[in-house]
């Protein structure tokens, strides 16, 4: 049933559905040609690509002029058009229905959530990188040869800064973990303001999920059953 010309596929292996298509093509040895589309370089937004797929997405399959998008449609097309082992997309109606059931459910479940985690992790890495630049500047510029940000005494600047730097703790991350100079400054601020520090941060502490060592680093006894 295979056509003479190999099927053309437009893929970026950074994309999950593209990888699924690629794996089916290669392990079932369907004759194909891969056209790499670098999403990071915006190659899916060129006029040529848009002409082929208005939605500017990968994967795209082109089979002798027949253009098809959507990975589950593509996978099912390949499994039926080409001579592949039947288990990939069974013909028996109830077995096939099971596959159709999963591929439908997949969109708003597996795909939605795993993809989101990846996107957020990338964004988080960028944010952490930017934060590191700021922490380095705090240490080398503001805290250079002085105990507080603006001199020998605590100022309102220290209050603003410490509250921001404490915030990620609410999500379980101590961003000062690898910055001993900033940790020492934090302790100085805590000493200078006394118990008002923990009172202010009580709500934040309640949200913390952290390893036991952090409680020691904080040096105080936060509210709640931590």
């Amino acid at each position: 049933m295979a056509a003479g010309r190999p099927v053309q596929v437009y893929l970026d292996l950074l994309s999950q559905p593209c990888r699924a298509v690629y794996i089916l093509l290669t392990c079932t040895k369907i004759p194909h040609k891969v056209h790499a589309v670098a999403l990071r370089k915006g190659e899916h937004r060129t006029p040529e690509f848009t002409n082929m797929n208005l939605m500017q997405k990968v994967p795209v399959l082109v089979d002798s002029g027949f253009i098809l998008t959507e990975s589950d449609a593509i996978l099912k097309y390949l499994a039926t058009q080409y001579d592949v082992p039947e288990h990939w997309y069974p013909r028996q109606p109830q077995q096939r229905a099971r596959v159709d059931e999963y591929t439908a459910w997949h969109h708003t479940n597996t795909r939605a959530h795993a993809a989101k985690v990846f996107i957020l992790e990338v964004a988080l890495n960028n944010a952490l990188s930017n934060l590191k630049n700021t922490l380095d500047k705090l240490e080398t510029m503001f805290l250079r040869r002085q105990p507080f940000l603006c001199g020998d005494d605590i100022t309102v600047a220290d209050l603003l800064a410490i509250c921001e730097l404490m915030q990620p703790l609410g999500a379980g991350r101590d961003i000062l973990k690898d910055h001993p100079q900033l940790q020492r400054w934090r302790s100085r601020v805590q000493s200078a303001v006394g118990k008002s520090f923990d009172e202010a941060h009580a709500v934040l502490y309640l949200n913390i999920i952290h390893p036991p060592t952090l409680k020691n680093q904080l040096g105080s006894n936060p509210v709640g059953n931590l």
Binding site: M55, F66, E70, D72, T80, R96, A97, R98, A104, T108
Partner: protein
């Protein structure tokens, strides 16, 4: 024993299954599951579908969820006319393409608009911030534009000259915001013309019957017991807002 279909016609995918089954005179037992009354959380329904969603099918000891899988299964089992889900591989792929795209492409947006316009303000008594509503409407508009430009283009139906499962699945989703009082067909000539064709292909009587509940939604929800949704209130708000 006949096939059992567990449905609530408030739900778009349930309407699609209902329309498809009735149009093709497929014999089935209609098992009404009222989502608004939380019947999908009942013990009995949990045995039908662990994920507690409608539509669901029971055929003897075979259980199936997901409207698309259900319709394809029924099409095959009851040998419905070919155009609904063509045996021609490329035409079938065209239908599959739409059925795949629509999950995130339109279903998400049409559901959201309905919830933001009706369920959340009217049943849960929570005001929806303007920017959330505007964003949801913008997403819906983009989807409708794509349906007109790509999935319809210059064709009478999504797959070509004849109606298919793709058109049924599309129309029920587009009707959801209509149920919230938003006439999405206004100003969209291509979409309106396609709607008329789909209605004619399905049969206006069946189409209207299937959509009676959702089109009366704004009135019907006033009769709802708001405490039923209380338990899932924070989850619902987090999901939609």
């Amino acid at each position: 024993m006949a096939v059992e279909l567990f449905l609530d016609l408030f739900s778009q995918p349930c309407r699609a299954v209902y329309i498809f089954a009735k149009k093709n005179n497929i014999p089935f037992e209609f098992r009404r599951i009222s989502l608004m009354d939380g019947e999908h959380f009942g013990e009995e329904f949990g045995k039908i579908n662990l994920m507690r969603k409608v539509p669901a099918l029971r055929d003897g000891d075979f259980y199936l969820a997901e409207s698309i899988a259900i319709m394809i299964y029924l099409a095959e089992k009851f040998e419905t006319p070919d155009f609904w889900y063509p045996t021609d591989i490329r035409q079938r792929a065209r239908v599959n393409e739409y059925l795949s795209w629509q999950h995130q492409g339109i279903r998400t947006h049409s559901s959201k608009v309905f919830w933001l316009r009706v369920m959340i303000p009217m049943v849960m008594g929570v005001e929806v911030p303007k920017e959330k509503m505007d964003a949801a409407l913008e997403d819906l508009n983009s989807s409708l534009k794509l349906i007109e430009e790509k999935f319809l283009d210059d064709r009478p139906f999504i797959a070509g000259d004849q109606v298919s499962l793709a058109d049924i699945v599309a129309i029920v989703e587009i009707m959801q915001p209509v149920g919230s009082g938003l006439d999405v067909f206004q100003g969209r000539l291509k979409l309106s013309a396609w709607r008329d064709r789909v209605q004619a292909a399905i049969g206006k009587e069946l189409f209207d019957e299937a959509h009676q509940a959702i089109l009366g939604a704004q009135e019907n929800v006033k009769l709802l017991d708001p405490t039923v949704l209380q338990a899932s209130k924070s989850k619902i708000l987090r999901y939609f807002m």
